[in-house]
């Protein structure tokens, strides 16, 4: 299980990465992250929305209301600025994992 601190740090990268594939609404974002991480990363409502609003303010993503089968949902789409941010975020996390492998002698599972 991944610690909470590390989860917070991965949150932005996780959200941007799933939105890179397709626009999703809030609940779908949390489900997709949970499924893709095999349950290691779980975003509750309380964790997800403040972060979504923050990255929306930074214009990394844009939320737009859409009518879906279950009603009106706010769908988030990755913006060019967010796509651009993915590159350094991924590089930072790759650096961190390399460093941790060296320091803690942790190998990929």
């Amino acid at each position: 299980m991944v610690s909470n601190e590390l989860k917070r740090g991965t949150a932005e990268l996780a959200i941007l990465s799933v939105l890179e594939r397709q626009p999703l609404h809030g609940y779908e974002i949390s489900r997709r992250i949970e499924l893709d991480s095999c349950g290691a990363l779980r975003f509750t409502l309380a964790a997800l929305y403040p972060l979504l609003y923050r990255i929306e303010n930074r214009r990394w993503v844009r939320g737009e209301w859409e009518i879906t089968d279950t009603g009106r949902r706010r769908c988030y789409k990755l913006l060019p600025r967010g796509r651009k941010m993915l590159v350094p975020l991924r590089a930072q996390w790759a650096d961190l994992f390399r460093a941790m492998r060296r320091v803690a002698r942790v190998n990929h599972a």
Binding site: Y27, L45, A46, P50, Y53, R72
Partner: protein, 222 residues
Amino acid sequence: MPDWLAYVNGHLGRLPLSETESSQVREELAAHLEDAYLSLLAQGFSETNAARLVCDQVPSWQQLHRDILAAKSEAFMQNRVSQLWVPGLVTLTGSAALLAVFEFAGWRPMVIPPHGPYSFVIYFPWLFCLPLFGALGAYLSLRARAHGLAVHCAALFPALVMAASLFAILLVALVLTDRRPLGVVAAGFGVFMLNWFLLPGFFLLLGDLLLQLVMKRRLASN
């Protein structure tokens, strides 16, 4: 099915946001809870258990309230920069630079009366150019989706800065300098305020209002 919007309204408390923004946040959170609830039902959970698990997604509504406001206030700060500070500084820099150009070109101000302890120093050509800067400040602010007071503040920024500076100088003068009669200080302050706040402010506001009028008319005609 539980009324998730009523549940959110009952727990989240009043958000100090605009009516639209606040209702959108509530609707979005309610939609998330509804989706989570339906998903749990589809997985075979009973209605009671599904509702309990969904409610557990928010351990503290007060904390969520604070977190949402913190996220939204970050936007407020960003907006304040683009809607007020940047247009205001552009207006201030432009008007100050123009005054310096006039000075450099040798255009002398009109001094009324020419001799005396309190004279009005009026740069007419500069004052007549100020509506352009007022309009520029208002335009930049409006372009950043500002409205109301923020637009006027951006347009009047040079006059407001001058007024604030004059108040600061007045306070320092009252504290530090030798005690002059209050009437003398007040008269000097009044003359400075007229020269550097009221007159420039009037011309800047003129440009601001004219621009807003033109933009409103254009919008109406479109």
